[in-house]
Amino acid sequence: MTTKKSVKATDSGLRYSLYLSLVLGLIWLGNSGHYSPLLLAFGALSVFLVVWIARRMRVVDGESQPFHMSFRLLAYYGWLFRKIVESNIKVAGCAWRGRSAISPVSARVPCALQSDLSRVIYANSITLTPGTVTVSLDKGELLVHALTESGIAELQTGEMEGRVARLDQ
Amino acid sequence: MIIATAVALLVVMVMALVRALLGPTIHDRILAVNVFGTKTVLLISVICFISGRPEFIDIALVYALINFVSIIGVLKYFEYQGASAGEGASD
């Protein structure tokens, strides 16, 4: 793991746990329909307990709470959703036309992203678009399997990688 | 319309089950189980809405959670096993 990332984690550990407790509180309130004082107290207690356990597990850090990029992330997800719908229609077509339409191919796609989080987002978004699946994630590249060559070609244009890179600044 | 989706979900589950039963390789079976799991999540949510008690969708969330963890558990089995080591350990 790159040293740069660990420095950032310690000084803002508190910030991340606050952010995590905020998210958890939101989930609790959203879920429980009953806001009696007793239940709210239990809610606070359990949020506190979970945050404490999460800190012991050293799970609370930049990667798990990417609040620094949350707004840009939403925009990216909007764009990603459009991509998903597109590739879905393509794959549905292949599915209906049957075996002849598909030409499965696998290739290694270079990926220049530094931070783990961005590489994970990039890998997941490739898998999310149905035509392509990230098979393995190595140092500098991704092994991707695609249903059709067009899928691979589209990836190699690097459009998605650029968008993910922009998220990281 | 919900009932139509419920029927569609059932059909998909049947197809997933067929793939699980036929599946030549083990991974086909795992894939089928994964698909089956997510379809059950949807089926449960649809059932909640059909029976007019929408507040029970927590269960659907638990299904998704359990499905995810069991898939990870299965794949962990393969990590420890590895295709060859699996049989080696069995004699």
């Binding site: 499965p104 392509t132 699946v133 | 929408p54 898939i71 393969f78 990590e79």
Partner: protein
């Protein structure tokens, strides 16, 4: 007036979702080898699920169930690619080697996947010999 529009939208989304669902399932059954089936499966996971849950959201209207449905949506949004990725990785590690080992160039053709030869039964045979 608005409810009828919302319910029509919901019905349409549910219908579309079911269509994608069934096509994905069809893909799982018809595609020749494991990896292509995975694509079909991830398709049902993504669009099929989002449309159906979206439809349910619209039928549920504002309230507690809406939040729960969004929670489910977010959860599936995170877990299904990870599960897909993990599945592909473990397939890669065990017997279904991918041909992609060669250089980075995209090699046309079915790649090195030796798909249709029922490795499962061979797998069992080896186990029996033990």
């Amino acid at each position: 007036m608005i409810e009828s529009a919302v319910s029509v939208l919901a019905a349409m989304m549910l219908g579309l979702g079911s269509f994608f669902m069934i096509s994905g399932a069809l893909g799982i059954l018809r595609f020749p080898d494991f990896y292509s089936r995975m694509h079909a499966a991830s398709m049902t996971d993504t669009l099929g699920t989002y449309l159906i849950i979206g439809g349910l959201m619209f039928t549920a209207g504002w309230g507690l169930p809406l939040f729960k449905l969004t929670l489910i949506l977010v959860f599936i949004f995170f877990t299904s690619p990870t599960a897909g990725h993990a599945l592909a990785k473990s397939a890669q590690l065990s017997e279904l080697r991918l041909g992609g080992e060669q250089s980075g160039s995209a090699k046309p053709g079915a790649g090195g996947v030796h798909s249709d030869q029922h490795p499962d039964s061979r797998d069992l045979a080896r186990a029996d010999r033990v």
